[in-house]
């Protein structure tokens, strides 16, 4: 009887101290109205590779937001960001017609190990999107 209680206690201790936490968000450019590339070149209107020069880069932008979730990302506490809308806005604000060097960053909170022990604490990831807006004749229809 004593040993079964001990096993139960050990199991409970293992369960409570072996946990995971997770927060994440999906992004896509399905509704983009301009060419956007993660590399230094884009596809021009003829389907050819085109690398914009530095004089065609009209602006650099950086947007950050946080994504909060609980219970292994099954409950999202923040609404998803529309990446297409965000990038369309950045291009139009800068008066450009495309984006190159688009980068995505993820930054954890530093308390994930604590969140995983106490599931009622929301998990957070900071998402950063940055890139160079270009204005190029090659990116015009």
């Amino acid at each position: 009887m004593k040993s079964s209680k001990l096993i139960l206690a050990v199991c409970l201790a293992l369960f409570s101290s072996s946990c995971l936490s997770l927060s994440g968000t999906d992004l896509n450019g399905a509704d983009l109205r301009y060419p956007v590339s993660l590399s230094q070149s884009i596809i021009d209107v003829n389907g050819a590779h085109y690398t914009p020069t530095t004089v065609e880069k009209v602006a650099h932008f950086k947007r950050e937001w946080g994504h909060w979730a609980m219970f292994y990302d099954s409950v999202s506490l923040t609404s998803d960001v529309d990446l297409s809308k965000l990038l369309n806005e950045e291009i139009e604000r800068a008066g450009g017609n495309g984006i190159v060097n688009l980068k995505f960053s993820a930054k954890g909170t530093g308390w994930s190990w604590l969140v995983s022990l106490l599931l009622v604490i929301p998990e957070h990831v900071k998402v950063t999107v940055e890139g160079d807006v270009i204005k190029s004749a090659a990116a015009e229809l």
């Binding site: 936490s21 927060s23 993660l38 209107v45 995505f104 954890g108 990831v125």
Partner: protein, 139 residues
């Protein structure tokens, strides 16, 4: 002491950037960015790449270790997929940005990651929407 430890761990949180700016071929977020214009494309391979940063150690700040892995993996995979072919490009279908952590007894680990899924395409001739419809291309 415990609070100081928490602050140290929080300050050491990991971050990672998915950066393909060294790639010379297009890695497009939208496959057909010009309305009314499309190209015949031949789908070659799926493209999967990630940039991941992880840190871990025992649950007190003195033994925290930090490890970065796969950060250059994304560049390498893109280089390998395109292979210097001027007619090839990568189309990104989905970007997943996530962070998380876990505990096992006194050992903890934290991770941040950017995962990208897409396709490697070979761009062919320019075609009008009518031609695409006639040929049944999957534009």
């Amino acid at each position: 002491m415990w609070i100081a430890g928490l602050l140290l761990l929080s300050a050491g949180c990991n971050s990672v950037t998915f950066d393909l700016s060294d790639i010379e071929e297009p890695v497009m977020l939208n496959p057909m960015p010009y309305p009314g214009v499309s190209w015949t494309v031949n789908e070659l391979d799926p493209f999967i790449a990630s940039a991941t940063s992880a840190s871990g150690g025992a649950s007190h700040p003195g033994t925290t270790t930090s490890t970065r892995m796969h950060e250059d993996d994304a560049q390498l995979r893109a280089f390998e997929s395109i292979g210097g072919h001027s007619q090839r490009m990568i189309i990104v279908d989905n970007v997943q940005v996530w962070g998380g952590g876990g505990n096992f007894l006194i050992v903890f680990a934290e991770m941040s990651s950017v995962d990208v899924r897409g396709r490697v395409l070979e761009v062919g001739a320019l075609s009008t929407p009518d031609e695409s419809a006639d040929s049944g291309d999957d534009q």
